[in-house]
């Protein structure tokens, strides 16, 4: 059942990632593909026993970040991309896809040599409690730095979005 879930989620994630990049008609479509990709990734996290990260993935990415994208797209009323002609560059696309596939294959070949089954983990692995304890003991400095970063981000966003640069 887990293998099936993996295939479902990973197909959804990769497919919708392609949707993000490939939907030329409207950025809204890209954003919606992005949500699907994020949710699929959250599923993959939960398959990896990382429940907390998975939940946060849903809350932060699907619940906040992409909503913010949508919000901006709506606020700016970007119905079409407005640059459909510029988006059409078949040679570059083909070349890029070729490089990406080649790179992935090379990576696969490299990684295949070191495939190993997963170890068993205790029940608390990846739970909110485990991550919380790690965050507030060993990584408390990172948490505080992250807090400062968020504050700086808030201030920067407010200043940037509010000020009219003449």
């Amino acid at each position: 059942m887990r293998a099936a879930l993996f295939w479902i989620f990973s197909t959804a994630a990769v497919g919708s990632a392609l949707g993000v990049v490939g939907s030329l008609r409207s950025p809204i479509n890209s954003a919606l593909s992005l949500v699907v990709s994020m949710l699929a990734l959250a599923g993959l996290y939960i398959l990896l026993e990382a429940q907390f990260v998975g939940l946060i993935q849903v809350m932060v990415y699907a619940g906040a970040i992409v909503v913010l994208f949508l919000f901006v797209i709506m606020l700016l009323n970007l119905r079409g991309s407005g640059a459909a002609g510029a988006e059409n560059q078949p040679i570059a696309k083909a070349l890029g896809a070729l490089v990406a596939v080649a790179g992935t294959l090379w990576l696969a070949r490299t990684l295949a040599a070191s495939r190993a089954p997963w170890p068993d983990v205790e029940a608390s692995f990846g739970t909110t409690q485990a991550i919380g304890e790690a965050l507030y003991t060993d990584y408390v400095l990172s948490v505080q730095v992250a807090g400062v970063l968020l504050l700086a981000g808030i201030v920067a966003a407010v200043v940037l979005a509010k000020k009219k640069i003449d």
Binding site: I28, F52, V58, M59, G63, V67, L70, T128
Partner: protein, 385 residues
């Protein structure tokens, strides 16, 4: 988790949803009529049989299903189609973690009255709740209508804003209970504490003072965190976009807001979604703040142990289970009624007032609550050590 538990839970799940949601239309009508000194909702009848207006939901459903489903020109057809479902689905699946009762041994089978007793229960509700934003947001945009667009922008801003306050408000409660699992919260809330225990710790009275030992209070969330209960309720209601927080659909300003271009059952889905969410809110609050399925001052395990000699083990468990479900539903109904009361008492806030309440009142208060709670926990730990 044995398969049988799932079946019981899903049975209850369907019961609550299918029973409550349509009935909510009737409840709402009756409540508003009552408050506005009308009779209300008494016209629909089958062969002259009115049943206090309970026929009305049925009539509504028939009307909605049979109405024409319009799609405006220039609309994003796919999004216009899926948005109502995106709006309703999160509300429904939120129920998965709501505990209607504890875990019972029935004829050798463990029966849990929770569909998915998740370790990260509350977090799950929040995560699912944040998805609900899309349903409303995309609806307004997909309809290719300027009012709908305005509604979309309002709804996304409002829901993102209140999600912040929503999560932070209950952190104090998490700190006290030390868990996010709703069933654990239910069990913990069956405990009691001595209201005047501090006198003993302060040395005013000696150990074993009869009065101090007698006066006990259930350790319900609302007792431990009274202010967050109301803040949480406020934030949830704002998330649900019902009056007085219904600026995204404010009729007097932007006609009907984000679902302006919807008709028929698609429109009905938005109505349904709101009502289901009313139930979700009530259930969540009950589980977290009002002691869940428990009766005050009664530990369920002790109760079963007391009944076992009389009824036998299986029947005692069964009785406790039935009692638990009823207690839970009663509390939910009270909270639904309370929400209706607010819905019909308060006028709609202005949009800036909504935002100010979220960012300038709820958020600072909830942050302060975390600090105060932390100090409180430290003091209690220090004193009772």
């Amino acid at each position: 988790m044995a398969m049988s538990t799932v079946w019981v839970s899903i049975f209850l799940f369907a019961l609550v949803l299918l029973a409550f949601a349509p009935v909510m239309t009737w409840v709402e009508r009756k409540q508003s009529a009552l408050m506005q000194d009308r009779i209300g909702a008494n016209r629909a009848s089958i062969l002259g049989f009115k049943a206090l207006g309970l026929i009305h939901p049925l009539a509504d459903v028939i009307k909605m299903i049979t109405k024409e489903d319009t799609v405006p020109t220039g609309a994003h057809r796919f999004l216009h189609l899926v948005s109502p479902f995106i709006a309703v689905a999160p509300a429904i699946i939120s129920f998965a973690v709501i505990p209607y009762g504890g875990v019972y041994e029935l004829w050798g089978t463990r029966v849990s009255l929770t569909v998915a007793d998740l370790d990260y229960g509350v977090l799950y509700v929040f995560a699912i709740g944040s998805i609900a934003t899309y349903g409303s947001m995309l609806a307004g945009w997909a309809g290719n209508n300027n009012f709908g667009m305005l509604g979309s922008i309002r709804v996304s801003a409002q829901m993102i804003s209140y999600e912040v306050a929503l999560g932070i408000t209950v952190v104090g409660l998490f700190m006290i209970f030390g868990t996010l699992r709703l069933t654990d919260m239910g069990i913990l809330q069956q405990e009691t504490f001595r209201l005047f225990g501090f006198l003993e710790h302060a040395g005013v009275v000696g150990k074993g003072n009869g009065f101090v030992d007698a006066v006990t209070i259930p350790m319900w969330g609302i007792v431990l965190q009274p202010l967050p209960f109301f803040m949480f309720l406020t934030a949830l209601m704002a998330e649900n976009k019902r009056a007085p927080f219904d600026t995204p659909e404010g009729e007097s300003e932007i006609v009907a807001g984000y679902f302006i271009e919807y008709s028929g059952m698609k429109f009905g889905l938005y109505m349904m979604g709101e009502w289901i969410e009313v139930v979700v809110i009530s259930a969540l609050l009950t589980a977290m703040f009002l002691g869940g399925w428990s009766i005050p001052w009664v530990r369920e395990a002790e109760m079963i142990a007391a009944w076992t000699p009389v009824l036998g083990e299986n029947m005692a468990n069964l009785a406790a289970m039935v009692l638990a479900v009823h207690v839970f539903l009663i509390k939910v109904i009270v909270l639904i009624w309370f929400q209706m009361l607010i819905r019909w008492s308060m006028p709609r806030f202005r949009y800036d007032q909504v935002m100010n309440l979220g960012w300038k009142i709820l958020l600072p208060l909830s942050l302060a609550n975390i600090v105060i709670t932390a100090f409180g926990i430290l003091i209690v730990q220090e004193v009772t050590r």
